[in-house]
């Protein structure tokens, strides 16, 4: 019985936090988000060298063979500084290959994913706010030397930065993931509130792939990957939530109004306390969900829905209160608090909003 982190995991957390502070501080985050590529290959190479991209990839395929709980340490710590690099997308693409790929695909692709030389992402659903196999409408049809694809995948995270995209389609034999190279598809950037999480639509009409670039995917595998996506998102919500709480709490100690620090007023300090209660609570649920990915697959759906169901609305409120308690300065573009509020908006619907997850909790709980 031990619901805590190992010494290695704590060291990893320290390493990520230190690296992010030094190599990717907020001015750098803003610079990357404002650049045309919305990506930074030098920084990507550095984190690849640190091993963060191969954490959950088996050693036989060039990774470190660790677990999702280790990955969430990195995602959480990187999200404290809103690091805009596609670490989560890379991890989800690796999970997709590990879950749906055959031995050859694993040995061909995973080493390049672990080393960061292939930047990858996934796109599952084609409808906004609908988590269901029926929400996948893109198609793959058999052709002479493989498959020809049809449809548009909207809202694909980090699509513009990726070299390869694993996109859910309906194939001749059911659901599948089509692996496409970015040069073969039309990618259109979709500007959103959160510039640190670039999103794009991917047009697949007429794109052809060879037969071994289509990975069959069962509904259970789709559900598993969706749950992994929710775990990754929630881990980032923990880090980003902690950062804006810290920022707001520090501000409340320094900002003097009516002759006192505003943190002395219960109208302020009680909101800070409520932010803390919610953050700590979805933190606990998030760690348990991350542990479940590797160690309790049967309980994963419930664990994920408890975590993401709680975090979705709680982080959104933390974002609002974080900005709100700052007063007008929090509303200012050059101040960082607002970037966290935007992250909370991004995270809220990602891999299921609170209604989706609460409905699932009710169903899994026998209602």
């Amino acid at each position: 019985m031990n619901f805590g982190f190992t010494e290695e995991q704590s060291l990893l957390r320290d390493q990520v936090e230190r690296f992010i502070k030094e190599a990717c501080p907020m001015p750098k985050v803003r610079e990357i988000a404002a650049s045309e590529s919305r990506f930074d290959s030098a920084l990507w190479q550095q984190i690849a060298d640190l091993g963060w991209l191969g954490l959950t990839i088996p050693e036989a395929h060039g990774g470190l063979g660790l677990k999702w709980i280790d990955l969430t340490v990195v995602l959480e710590a990187a999200a404290e500084g809103l690091c805009p690099l596609p670490i989560a997308s890379q991890a989800l693409a690796s999970a997709a290959v590990l879950t749906c790929g055959n031995d050859k695909q694993k040995s061909d692709w995973l080493p390049a994913m672990a080393s960061g030389s292939a930047i990858c992402t996934i796109g599952l659903y084609d409808e906004a706010n609908w988590i269901d196999p029926k929400a996948i409408t893109a198609e793959a049809h058999a052709s002479e030397d493989g498959y020809v694809l049809k449809g548009t995948k909207p809202f694909v995270n980090d699509a513009a930065a990726a070299d390869y995209l694993l996109l859910a389609v309906n194939g001749p034999d059911g659901l599948a993931l089509a692996a496409v190279a970015k040069d073969n598809v039309k990618i259109t950037h979709q500007p959103t509130m959160d510039t640190t999480k670039p999103m794009a639509s991917v047009n697949l009409d007429g794109v052809t792939i060879s037969a071994d670039f289509l990975l069959p995917m069962s509904e259970e595998q789709l559900a598993f990957l969706t749950d992994c996506g929710a775990v990754a998102t929630t881990a980032e919500m923990v880090g980003a939530g902690a950062a804006i709480l810290e920022m707001t709490s520090s501000y409340a100690k320094e900002r003097i109004q009516f002759g006192k620090p505003i943190g002395q007023y219960q109208g302020v300090k009680h909101r800070l306390a409520d932010m803390y209660v919610d953050l700590e609570s979805y933190r606990s649920l998030s760690y348990y969900a991350a542990w479940s990915v590797d160690d309790d697959v049967a309980g994963l759906a419930k664990a994920v829905s408890l975590a993401k169901g709680y975090a979705s609305d709680a982080f959104a409120q933390i974002g609002i209160d974080g900005v709100g308690l700052h007063g007008a300065i929090g509303f200012t573009a050059e101040y960082d608090a607002q970037l966290y509020l935007k992250r909370s908006k991004w995270a809220r619907p990602m891999y299921g909003d609170s209604d989706y997850h609460m409905d699932r909790i009710a169903t899994l709980g026998g209602l």
Binding site: F3, L272, A273
Partner: protein, 386 residues
């Protein structure tokens, strides 16, 4: 991170389970001697004061075993391990830490043997949340103190034999935390008058207590004169773990789901109503958060790091759940939900309506939600004090 138990922890769990199955008959089959027998047996097992040092009659049980014991007892809806609840929770630990040898000999065995029930004399008419501002006065008069003053909202006072009493021995102090002194006082001492107060649920659990020239021997002082605040704080720090509580909350949630399945709303099964389903899911998220927060805190304790004010997080969850679950159940049942115990259309014997009126026991006792928020903001986030 792992959620497995060692072989010896697992075998302890088996031991608890088999004890329960051997010694806990169904409610209907329990005779009038049942409780006394049960208390004797759990005492013989060393499960009363399970974590207490052996020299005082405890078992020095580890944190995980303690958790397992509470969890299994809560699951089985077993009677408490000892009836001196406050005695076990903080009076006993307070005496072990601050008491004289004579006090330890005199009071500890009776607490463990469920012979004596204790109540806690903290709140006063003018000082509840602002506990350190108490005014109940104790003056040293040779070999005894003379106590005059009033306590109120004292839970268990109508049936307790002893009270742990917080008084002020010095009024001219720089900090209100100074000059406070703690006493162990028999409730039948001359000059102690208990007037039970009926609460809104109709129960008389708490009371006001008047102290008029009550003579308390010096040997009944707990800790040094003026040290009472430290005694109180360390006693409150001896907080129970929330694990047993969480088990009860999960139990309550299951009862609520059963209620939902058998209730209709606007002619439709309530279990089909999205709002009903999501409300229950929201309760479940909070109870699960309590569980996993509790496990994180337990892990911290196992690693030897002291808990500070983190437990206020779960107290806030508990407080809101305590209010919201019963309130939701009563509302769900419409007019039937209003029926009290004994009413012919009372659902589940009126338990929901009863506890919908009893939430202040948990929500206000031990520090109101706003006090918990102050604790979190000031001690965990470093905000300036009010």
């Amino acid at each position: 991170m792992d959620f497995d138990y060692t072989a010896s922890e697992q075998s302890f769990r088996e031991e608890v389970r088999s004890f329960i199955s051997d010694n806990l008959p169904p409610k209907k089959e329990r005779d009038k001697n049942f409780l006394a027998n049960w208390l004797e047996k759990v005492r013989a097992k060393g499960w009363v004061g399970f974590a207490w040092p052996k020299e005082f009659g405890g078992s020095e049980g580890g944190l995980i075993e303690q958790t397992i014991l509470r969890e299994e007892m809560a699951l089985a809806k077993a009677p408490p391990l000892g009836t001196s609840m406050m005695g076990l929770a903080w009076v006993g630990p307070g005496i072990m830490q601050y008491g004289t040898e004579e006090q330890k000999r005199k009071f500890i065995p009776d607490i463990l043997d469920s012979k004596v029930t204790w109540c806690t004399g903290y709140s006063e008419p003018n000082h509840g949340s602002d506990l350190a501002a108490i005014q109940c006065k104790a003056e040293l008069k040779g070999d005894h103190y003379l106590v005059n003053g009033q306590k109120i909202w004292t839970t268990g006072a109508p049936w307790s034999q002893w009270i742990i009493l917080l008084t002020r021995t010095k009024f001219d102090v720089e900090s209100k935390h100074d000059g406070i002194t703690c006493f162990l006082v028999p409730m039948d001492a001359p000059g102690v008058e208990v007037r039970p107060i009926q609460n809104m649920a109709g129960d008389k659990h708490f009371a006001e207590i008047f102290f008029t020239d009550v003579q308390v021997p010096v040997e009944n002082r707990l800790g040094a004169e003026g040290e009472g605040w430290n005694v109180t704080v360390s006693a409150l720090a001896n907080e129970r773990s929330s694990i047993g509580e969480v088990t009860q909350m999960f139990e309550k949630l299951e009862n609520l789901k059963e209620l939902v399945k058998t209730t209709s709303k606007q002619g439709q099964p309530a279990s089909n109503d999205p709002k009903v389903r999501r409300t229950i899911a929201r309760f479940e998220m909070k109870v699960a958060a309590m569980k996993f927060n509790g496990l994180r805190y337990l892990t911290k304790q196992i690693k030897g790091e002291p808990l500070t004010s983190e437990t206020s997080v779960n107290k806030l969850h508990r407080a809101s759940l305590e209010i919201e679950i019963d309130d939701f159940a009563v509302q769900l049942m419409g007019q039937a939900g209003l029926q009290l115990r004994g009413g012919e259309s009372a659902v589940d014997g009126g338990t929901w309506s009863k506890s919908a009126l009893n939430w202040p026991n948990v929500v206000i006792g031990g520090g109101t939600p706003n006090i918990q928020r102050n604790i979190i903001a000031e001690r965990l986030l470093g905000q300036p004090k009010d």
